[in-house]
């Protein structure tokens, strides 16, 4: 019995295929163009090595901001529930999930089943999200995937104000113009993002243990900075970006079983 979890995020789309509880396929692709078409391509591509087609799936659940535009999904579940479910399944002792996605970051409190007790999200502002890091990487002419490691090299991080992505970008550009070391600027950016995320997540009273998910969890500099501010070691799953799709696939499995 094959089921699929599809997570259409603002920057990346993710897919997980489960067969009898086991992950047999996964894929991360940049979300581009029309979501309906993009999600079709995504599912075709992830199923191709398995010799399957969308019609062979017993169930599919869609999540992410594009969840309502996935034509082959029987159900939509919010990414808040999906990240909770995915982490709860892998790490049943985790009580707080911090998800750093492309356009939003969230704090999610879960019980031992991965079911959501409470949550908080950033409001309509990209500061403190993946997109913010992307903008800064561009402004600094540094690869996004190198940002985290570079942040760890600094001994005297710059003070960066990040109430607004656009203003932060011009601040970064002026610091570069003044000849400040890039690593210090990058470290400052990471500190500011971590500060913002932690103060938001504190609104739901953080309980240990804490897991970090989403594309932002792949950034080692950000993870270390979050640990400092949280005063606690965090759990980063092997594929943090795929947790939402994994949770969606678990919901799809429920659907298939209840049929």
């Amino acid at each position: 019995m094959y089921v699929a979890g599809i997570d259409i995020g603002s920057i990346y789309s993710k897919a997980i295929i489960l067969k009898d509880n086991q992950v047999v396929g996964s894929l991360v692709k940049r979300t581009g163009g029309e979501i309906k078409v993009a999600s079709q391509k995504l599912i075709e591509e992830v199923l191709m090595p398995l010799g399957l087609q969308a019609a062979d799936l017993r169930a599919a659940v869609a999540t992410g901001y594009g969840r309502i535009s996935v034509p082959f999904a029987q159900k939509q579940v919010t990414e808040i529930s999906c990240f909770g479910r995915g982490i709860g399944h892998l790490f049943p002792y985790v009580r707080t999930v911090i998800d750093i996605g492309g356009q939003d970051s969230k704090g999610i409190k879960i019980d031992d089943q991965g079911s959501v007790d409470d949550f908080v999200m950033n409001d309509k502002c990209a500061a403190g999200t993946g997109r913010f890091l992307e903008v800064m990487a561009n402004a600094l002419e540094v690869k996004l995937e190198d940002m985290g490691l570079l942040a760890l090299l600094s001994n005297s991080p710059e003070e960066i104000g990040i109430t607004c992505t656009v203003f932060a970008e011009s601040q970064v550009i002026s610091l570069v113009a003044k000849g400040r070391p890039k690593v210090d600027i990058i470290a400052g950016i990471h500190q500011a993002i971590a500060e913002r995320i932690v103060s938001m997540v504190k609104m739901i009273r953080i309980e240990e243990r804490i897991a970090i998910t989403g594309g932002g969890a792949k950034n080692i500099g950000l993870v270390r900075e979050l640990e400092k501010k949280l005063g606690s070691k965090v759990i980063v799953p092997e594929e943090p970006q795929l947790i939402g799709a994994y949770g969606a696939a678990l919901f799809a499995q429920d659907l298939a079983r209840n049929e």
Binding site: T78, E79, I80, S81, V116, F119, M121, K124, M203, R205
Partner: protein, 399 residues
């Protein structure tokens, strides 16, 4: 939203007549006074002055999805888009060259009470200068729980000063007997309104908050008149009839929700559909209950002072939490939604903390979302939908 009410047709007719009456009245020598929504309008009615509610004009512009267009006219004059959306609609219309919801009615005089907020007095001051009309501010002291004797006397003195101001500027005479009659009518209407709102506590309910947002216009504008009493009698009758026939507000009511506070007017339908699709009915809000008070007609001025200073927006943090929790208990709510309204700072203040405290004290889930009650430019559908859907998923977990 519920299937159309018979009363809705009546309301549309009455509102159209009311808006037409302003200019007619002025011609026949009845002055037009701008008033604020939570204001002792009973005195205005008692003196046969025509009360006009510029906030209603703002809500109308918002509901017709043109608040942003009107606001742009105000913004060009330097009014920042962070100000109250109703004020931006009203100020914008004064400067506008096109009037998508008709012209705002110019005032002969302006009377304002700051029990709601500090933005209204500034808007009315600016309007007073623009229309060259006299302006009176009724200053309500901020209170924590109950108004102090000193605060009450301060307010009562101002009520008399206002009577004096009204007599001088309009030439009309104030008579206490007439005020008592008006207060009786106001109490009757507010009691009926309260009864209508209370039908939302039935499960399943015939009436919810989104319906109340539509049917509240008469209690705001005509409390103190027979028209309001007649209207709510008709509405109550219709609701009783719906209960008898088993007509409900939404098809499958599973959850009852408390909503704070004003609706997002341009998206009223969107919200009501989203809640209904999740079998959730919004059953109460402190907003629609703002006009569900009672007067003691044996002490007219004191009673007016108590009712209008003790409005919830004028009170402390703890009181406001308690008020929401009381509503949740009275209407048997399963959860609550708090709207952080960019337009309304006094009500949005501390909402995230309030959410936390209410959940801790009641064990009920709640969610905060941010938007503007009138201006669509601040509405981010995806962001709001995900919060509400996650909230509904959380509600289902409890059942």
């Amino acid at each position: 939203m519920s299937a159309p009410f018979k009363t809705a047709g009546l309301l549309k007719n009455l509102m159209a007549k009311y808006y037409a009456k302003g200019e007619e009245n002025r011609k026949s020598g009845i002055p037009v006074a701008w008033v604020t929504a939570v204001f002792p309008v009973e005195i205005i009615y008692a003196m046969d002055i025509f009360p006009y509610y510029p906030e209603n004009f703002g809500a109308l512009g918002a509901a017709r999805k043109v608040a942003d267009k009107l606001s742009e006219y105000a913004e060009r004059r330097g009014y920042f888009n962070d100000l109250c959306g109703y004020a931006r609609c009203g100020i914008g219309d004064a400067y506008a060259t096109d009037h998508p919801v008709g012209n705002i009615l110019p005032p002969d005089l302006l009377v304002c009470c700051n029990t709601q907020c500090g933005s209204l007095p500034k808007w009315f001051e600016a309007a007073g200068r623009y229309y060259n009309a006299p302006y009176f501010l009724l200053d309500s002291p901020l209170i924590e729980d109950q108004v102090s004797p000193l605060g009450k006397n301060y307010f009562i003195d101002q009520l008399w000063e206002m009577v004096d101001f009204l007599e001088r500027t309009t030439g009309k005479k104030f008579e206490m007997e007439r005020l008592v009659e008006v207060l009786k009518l106001a109490s009757e209407a507010t009691q009926l309104w309260n009864d209508c709102l209370d039908t939302a506590a039935l499960k399943p309910a015939p009436f919810g908050f989104f319906d109340a947002c539509f049917h509240m216009a008469p209690i705001v504008t005509w409390r103190g008149t027979q028209t309001a009493v007649d209207y709510y009698m008709a509405l109550k009758e219709e609701l009783d009839e719906r209960v008898a026939k088993g007509i409900t507000a939404i098809p499958n009511e599973r959850f009852k929700i408390y909503f704070d506070h004003i609706p997002v007017w341009p998206r009223l339908r969107w919200f009501s559909d989203l809640f209904a699709a999740n079998d959730a009915l919004v059953v109460a809000s402190q907003y629609t209950h703002s006009w569900a008070h009672k007067f003691d007609v044996s002490r007219p001025m004191e009673s007016l002072a108590e009712v209008y200073t003790e409005q919830f927006v004028n009170r402390g943090f703890e009181y406001r939490i308690k008020l929401k929790m009381d509503f949740m208990k009275r209407y048997k709510c399963d959860g609550f939604v708090l709207f952080s309204n960019r337009s309304c700072k006094p009500n949005s203040f501390g909402l995230y903390d309030k959410r936390q405290v209410i959940t801790e004290r009641t064990g009920k889930p709640g969610v905060v979302f941010e938007a503007d009650m009138s201006d669509q430019r601040f509405f981010s559908e995806g962001q709001i939908q995900i919060r509400l859907e996650a909230f509904f998923e959380r509600l289902r977990k409890d059942q």
